[in-house]
């Protein structure tokens, strides 16, 4: 004992920083996150990765197979597919992220109102049930037909069908939380509604919302691709992944790489976001984990 007092106690082995240890517990989602990061970075830094222009046509280089000059080959107008996939990712990601943000924010507001105000609840939830009865892609297609297509119209058309699920989620959380004793205690000491909402109710919705937003992002990127593939999506002159695939589709028998490379980029992006979402769900929201 005395020796131990004289010598300083042996320190435990230096621990890894907390976040690294946590990442090791979720190898697959970490992989998804890294893959996603690579995809995002490569689209953001597209001008540094390729010197080619995604829109410039070189008619003499039509439908070239992948090679040293054009890593992914060229399309029917002689445009470099590698550049189109990189720049197209910007558009697809922008749509995915915007839709995820917009539908979560709108869904959060509507869901809180539905969860907290009994009168509004019945009306809001009937509207949401009605929206959910219409298949999302069909609703988006119908919305697209109303006005001339632009990036923002695509975002709105994909966002609206995503809102009901968020509303349901938020409402369910608010309904559970508002009955808790600590909420009663808070209102008993005179906490006003905005403060009650901000400090005591909203924080419980964040974990499931983050998970939901991830899935929405993946599904929005896919929906954009479907809409463009069907010819009713992003304006054709903007190279989103969906448009690149839609262009390549006409020549798929001659030059399958026109569909394959943007298709793989799209699939990798959706896969990485979904895997990341599964990981976030397991880590943040064990209740959801049981359900799916």
């Amino acid at each position: 004992m005395s020796a131990a007092i004289e010598k300083p106690l042996a320190l435990p082995a230096p621990r890894r920083p907390g976040w690294l240890r946590r990442l090791r517990r979720y190898p697959l989602p970490t992989l998804g996150g890294v893959l996603l990061l690579l995809l995002v970075l490569s689209t953001l830094f597209a001008p540094w990765i390729t010197s080619r222009d995604p829109i410039e046509m070189e008619v003499i280089d039509r439908l070239l197979p992948p090679g040293a000059d054009h890593p992914f080959g060229t399309d029917a107008y002689g445009r470099d597919l590698f550049a189109r996939v990189l720049y197209g990712g910007r558009v697809s990601l922008l749509i995915g992220v915007t839709v995820a943000l917009a539908s979560t924010v709108l869904g959060l507001v509507i869901g809180v109102v539905a969860g907290y105000f009994r009168l509004a609840d019945a009306v809001i939830m009937r509207v949401m049930d009605g929206l959910m009865a219409i298949p999302g892609i069909l609703l988006a297609i119908a919305l697209m037909s109303l006005t001339r297509a632009s990036l923002w119209v695509v975002v709105i058309a994909i966002t609206i069908p995503e809102i009901p699920r968020v509303v349901r989620l938020v409402r369910a959380v608010v309904l559970t939380v508002r009955e808790q004793t600590y909420i009663q205690a808070a209102s008993a000491i005179g906490t006003r509604f905005p403060r009650l909402m901000r400090l005591h109710i909203l924080p419980s919705t964040f974990a499931p919302l983050i998970v939901q937003a991830t899935y929405i992002c993946a599904s929005a990127v896919l929906t954009e691709a479907y809409l463009s593939f069907l010819g009713v999506g992003t304006p054709p002159e903007i190279p989103s992944w969906g448009n690149v695939i839609a262009d390549g589709r006409l020549y798929v028998q001659l030059a399958f790489w026109n569909v394959l490379f943007p298709g793989i980029a799209l699939a990798l992006m959706v896969l990485s976001v979904n895997v990341l979402g599964d990981g976030l769900r397991d880590a943040l929201d064990p209740r959801l984990a049981r359900r799916l």
Partner: protein, 313 residues
């Protein structure tokens, strides 16, 4: 049972009413004049005025809605502007391919997904489970048209093995009907299989932890019997409910698949209508599809509450 059934049936009325309002308002809330939207890009102001008068678009909104709703309730979904034919007839002409594809996909997915999900749950945590789950995450993320186009390219080269385009009516030629459905079913079915396999596994995992499963095993029942008769039967409610709710996803996929394989179904009808701005057709398709979705889910809920008296929502 009776009271529940009546309540459940009545609950579909507001849903369909909301769908009708949404479909009606969509045209009126959009930026721009509905008559101009309907008339198309090349219309003169006289054309627009004619359409406005013919469809009653100059009347008050509520009056228009009541008129439209009255027509709907008497089974009149309106008239196609482009083809000048009743919308309901147009939809009925295109129903068979869509229905055939949806049903074959569903059967394919259930036959594949349920055994996979059960197996994954039974061997939870092992490489079998991990492989099945990894495959299902991948299948869930690959866009339908990528699989579809891959199959088209692959089979177009191998000539007569399987047709890569079109549809043959069941009444015309049963064999050709089935052969034309194989590739579309596979490309659409994989996504749906992935979703169902995940749900099946999750539900089975919960049920397998129940006491009655331990009892069944303890009394020496063979494992297949435990898994199927005891576990799967009890897990079936959430699984079938997911199948019902997944119909919305399925219909979305059908639209894309029809486009890949040039199948003349409801999806193609919708796309054609959008490209021609044939609004009554789009409205009609949405109403019919939403109606089918609501009815199928009503049917599932009622069947289950009849089979399992514990279910009361």
């Amino acid at each position: 049972m009776g009271a529940y059934a009546i309540r459940r049936i009545l609950a579909t009325v507001p849903v369909m009413a909301v769908v009708a309002v949404i479909v009606f308002l969509m045209l009126h809330l959009s930026p721009g004049d509905p008559a101009a939207i309907l008339a198309g890009d090349q219309a003169t102001s006289d054309d627009i005025a004619a359409i406005r008068g013919r469809l009653g678009l100059d009347r008050p909104l509520l009056q228009q809605f009541m008129l439209w709703l009255g027509q709907l309730l008497s089974g009149d979904l309106g008239t196609s502007i482009y083809l000048n034919r009743p919308v309901l007839g147009l939809i009925m002409e295109r129903v068979e391919p869509t229905l055939a594809l949806a049903v074959s996909t569903m059967v394919f997915a259930v036959l594949l997904a349920v055994p996979m999900g059960v197996l994954a749950a039974w061997r939870a945590g092992t490489w079998v489970d991990q492989t099945i789950m990894a495959l299902s995450v991948v299948a869930f993320s690959v866009p339908v048209f990528l699989i579809g186009q891959g199959l088209v390219v692959g089979f177009a080269l191998t000539f007569d093995l399987l047709p890569v385009q079109g549809f043959v009516s069941l009444g015309d030629d049963v064999v050709a009907f089935a052969r034309h459905l194989v590739l579309p079913t596979i490309s659409l079915g994989l996504v749906y299989t992935a979703l169902l396999a995940r749900i099946t596994r999750a539900t089975m995992l919960e049920v397998l932890n129940e006491d009655f499963i331990r009892t069944a095993r303890a009394k020496g029942l063979a494992e297949p019997r435990v898994l199927i008769l005891h576990a799967l039967k009890n897990a079936s409610v959430p699984i079938v409910t997911t199948i019902g709710l997944g119909i919305a996803l399925l219909i979305g996929g059908v639209v894309v698949t029809e486009s890949v394989f040039a199948i003349p179904g409801i999806g193609r009808l919708t796309i054609e209508a959008v490209l021609q701005r044939d609004y009554p057709v789009i409205q009609g398709v949405i109403l019919v599809v939403a109606g089918v979705y609501v009815l199928v889910n009503l049917g599932i809920d009622l069947t289950y509450s009849a089979l399992d008296p514990r279910i009361r929502y």
